[in-house]
C-alpha cells in the first residue's frame, strides 16, 4: 500500500468501454482522481463517418490491458489496495461493453475484489462529484449522443428520470444537422464553433410538447433544418452555415435550458448538474450559466471538458457510492445495451 493512503481509504477502479473510448480510472474516496486513462478510437472511426460497432469492439480488445496497466502505474497502487471494481454494464454498444465487463470480471476474480455494475448515465452524472460534493435534491441534465434526460436525485444512488427524449437524442440531432451542412464527424463541436460565428436569424421550431411535460423531441427540429437547406437550394439561394448552426443550436438550447430551469423550480432543487458529452458545448454552458444566475438558491455545476466525454473516472465515482450502499455484481454480470437507469435504495 502506498504511503499516502490510510487503511480507511476507499480505492475504486472504473472500467468504461460502452462506445469508442477504452478507459480505466482509479478514484480515491469517491471524489479524488488517482488515475484517469482514456484511449480514444475516434481517429479510426472518422473514415466511416461514425462509430462502427464491430471495429470499436476490436479496438477495445487491443487496448484493454494496456489501459489497465497505465491506470495502475499512474495511481501507483497494486490490486490489493482496491476496494472494488466498477464497470459500465450498459447502455451502449453490446460488443464494446462486453470487453469491459469481461475484463472487469477477470480482474475481480483473479484478486478476489468486489465487482459493481454501473449504468453509463449514472457515471456521467457522478463525473460532477469529482468537481464538487453533491447537494440533494439535485437535478441532472444529461445530454449526449444517445441521451437527453432530466434525472432527479433525492439522495445518492437514487436516479429518477423525470424527462427524456421521445425520438432523437440532442447529440444525434447535432450529428445529423452537421451532415446536412457537410461538416466532418463528429459534428457537435463543429456546429458549436460555427454557431459562435453566426446569428440565430433563421426561424426554427421548438418542441415544448404538452403542458408540464419534461420530455424532449428533436426530430422535428432536425427535419426543419434539412428542409430549410433543401428549400434554399431549390430557390438557388445560399444560407450562411454559421447562421443556420446558430439558429439550430439556439433552438436546442432554449428547450433544454427552459425545461431544466422549470423542473429545478418545481422540485425545489438545490443543485443542477450538467452531464454527458454535449455538456462540452459552449453555447449550452453559457445559456445555463445565464439562466441559473437568476436562481441563486440553486447551484449550477458544470464539469470540465475532460470529464464530460466518456471516461472511467465517472464510472468509478458512481461505483463508489453504489458499493457503499452494498450493491455488488456476480461473475454472471452481463453487458446490457438497453439497460434502464434504476433507483438504488
Amino acid at each position: 500500500m502506498g504511503e499516502f493512503m490510510t487503511n480507511k481509504d476507499q480505492l475504486i477502479m472504473g472500467i468504461e468501454t460502452s462506445c469508442d473510448e477504452t478507459a480505466v480510472a482509479i478514484i480515491k474516496n469517491g471524489r479524488e482522481i488517482a488515475a484517469n486513462v482514456v484511449a480514444s478510437q475516434i481517429e479510426s472511426h472518422k473514415r466511416f463517418g461514425g462509430v462502427v460497432p464491430e471495429i470499436a469492439s476490436r479496438h477495445h480488445v487491443e487496448q484493454i490491458t494496456i489501459v489497465l496497466e497505465e491506470a495502475l502505474n499512474q495511481a501507483n497502487i497494486s490490486y490489493e489496495d482496491l476496494s472494488a471494481i466498477a464497470v459500465t454494464e450498459g447502455p451502449g454498444l453490446v460488443g464494446a461493453l462486453l470487453v469491459g465487463v469481461n475484463a472487469a470480471k477477470a480482474v475481480a476474480f483473479a484478486h478476489g475484489i468486489p465487482l459493481v455494475g454501473v449504468h453509463h448515465i449514472a457515471g456521467h452524472i457522478y463525473a460532477n462529484r469529482l468537481v464538487t460534493e453533491m447537494t440533494f435534491p439535485l437535478l441532472s441534465l444529461v445530454v449526449s449522443g444517445g441521451h437527453t434526460e432530466l434525472v432527479y436525485m433525492k439522495e445518492h444512488g437514487h436516479f429518477e428520470v423525470i424527462g427524456e427524449t421521445r425520438d432523437d437524442a440532442a447529440g444525434e440531432a447535432y450529428d445529423k444537422v452537421a451532415r446536412t451542412l457537410n461538416l466532418p464527424y463528429p459534428g457537435g463541436p463543429h456546429i458549436d464553433r460555427l454557431a459562435q460565428e453566426g446569428e440565430p436569424s433563421i426561424s426554427l421550431p421548438r418542441a415544448w410538447l404538452e403542458e408540464g411535460s419534461y420530455d424532449f423531441s428533436f426530430s422535428g427540429l432536425k427535419s426543419a433544418v434539412i428542409n430549410t437547406v433543401h428549400n434554399a437550394e431549390q430557390r438557388g439561394e445560399k444560407i450562411k452555415p454559421e447562421d443556420l448552426a446558430a439558429s439550430f443550436q439556439q433552438s436546442v438550447i432554449d428547450v433544454l435550458v427552459t425545461k431544466t430551469s422549470k423542473a429545478a423550480k418545481e422540485y425545489n432543487i438545490k443543485q443542477v448538474l450538467l452531464a454527458g458529452g454535449v455538456a462540452a458545448n459552449k453555447g449550452l454552458r453559457k445559456a445555463l450559466q445565464e439562466e441559473f444566475i437568476k436562481l441563486p438558491e440553486c447551484e449550477l455545476v458544470i464539469p470540465p471538458l475532460s470529464l464530460c466525454t466518456d471516461n472511467a473516472a465517472m464510472i468509478a465515482a458512481a461505483g463508489s457510492v453504489l458499493f457503499e450502499k452494498g450493491i455488488q455484481s456476480t461473475m454472471a454480470l452481463n453487458a446490457n445495451p438497453g439497460l434502464d437507469i434504476t433507483i438504488h435504495n
Binding site: E54, V61, G95, A110, M331
Partner: protein, 235 residues
C-alpha cells in the same frame, strides 16, 4: 504447472485445468446461451471444485478463433486480462486446431474441422497427427464448403470431418468425396478444452498487450472502406 484453458469461440463453451501431465478438470456445454454470462462462473466453479486459487495458475491458454466474433472476443478478453493481471504467460491456439485434436488423434488421414460461417461458407483448415503431434497442413481459412469439397477431392486422401456445424454441410462433403469422407461421431464434435490446454502447454507465449483474436475476416465496414479506396486510387 497449472494451466487454465478457455474456449468460447463457438456455441460450445469449454474450460479445463491441466495440472502437469493430468487433466484435473474439464467443463463443456453446447447450448445456445450467452458466453458472457456463463464463462466466468464456469471458471469459478471448476477452480473451486479443483481446490485452486487464481494465484495457483501458471499459464492461460485460449482458443483464439476463428469463430463468432463476439464469442472469440469474450474468451480472448478474459484470457489476456487474467494472464496480465496474474502476471503469467498466455498462449493462443487456433479454435480449428482444438477441434481437430478433439477427434483425430488416431485417424490415419487428414482432419478437416468445420465451423459454419453462413451463406454456404465455412471456417476450416487441414490438420494431421504425425507421431503424436498435430501438424497444420493447410492454414485456417474462410471458404465456400463446395469449393473446399472440390479441393479435398483432388487430394484423394481420407478426410475426417468434425464439428457440430457439420450437419449443415454434410451433404456437400458426402456428394463430392464419396468413400473418402469420414464423419466424426456426435460425441466428438465439441472442441475439448483439455486438448486446448495440451496444445497450448508447449506452444510459444504471446505478447499479452498486443494479443488479439484471429478473426480471419476484416470487419465488413473495413473491407468496404478498403475496396472503395482502391477504386478511388484507380480512378
Amino acid at each position: 504447472m497449472k494451466l487454465l484453458s478457455i474456449d468460447t469461440s463457438n456455441y460450445a463453451l469449454g474450460v479445463a485445468i491441466l495440472d502437469g501431465d493430468q487433466v484435473i478438470g474439464e467443463y463443456i456445454t453446447n447450448i445456445k446461451k450467452n458466453h458472457s454470462v456463463r464463462v466466468m462462473p464456469a471458471i469459478e466453479t471448476l477452480m473451486k471444485d479443483c481446490d485452486m486459487k487464481p494465484s495457483d495458475l501458471s499459464k492461460i491458454v485460449v482458443a483464439e478463433g476463428p469463430g463468432s466474433y463476439t464469442g472469440v472476443r469474450i474468451g480472448v478478453t478474459i484470457a489476456k486480462t487474467l494472464a496480465w493481471t496474474l502476471n503469467i504467460p498466455l498462449t493462443g491456439v487456433s479454435s480449428l486446431e482444438v477441434l481437430a485434436a478433439s477427434a483425430g488423434r488416431y485417424f490415419e488421414g487428414v482432419i478437416s474441422p468445420i465451423f459454419d460461417a453462413r451463406r454456404g461458407q465455412i471456417y476450416t483448415g487441414l490438420y494431421q497427427f504425425h507421431e503424436g503431434k498435430l501438424i497444420t497442413k493447410n492454414k485456417d481459412q474462410l471458404i465456400l464448403s463446395k469449393y473446399w469439397a472440390a479441393e479435398l477431392k483432388e487430394r484423394s486422401e481420407k478426410v475426417l470431418f468434425i464439428g457440430n456445424d457439420l450437419l449443415l454441410h454434410k451433404e456437400t462433403f458426402e456428394g463430392i468425396n464419396g468413400t473418402q469422407a469420414v464423419f466424426a461421431e456426435i460425441t466428438e464434435h465439441n472442441p475439448r478444452p483439455a486438448e486446448l490446454a495440451l496444445l497450448g502447454r508447449d506452444k510459444e507465449v504471446e505478447d499479452i498487450h498486443s494479443f488479439v483474436p484471429n478473426y480471419i475476416r476484416l470487419a465488413e465496414a473495413e473491407a468496404n472502406w478498403i475496396k472503395a479506396n482502391k477504386e478511388k486510387i484507380r480512378k
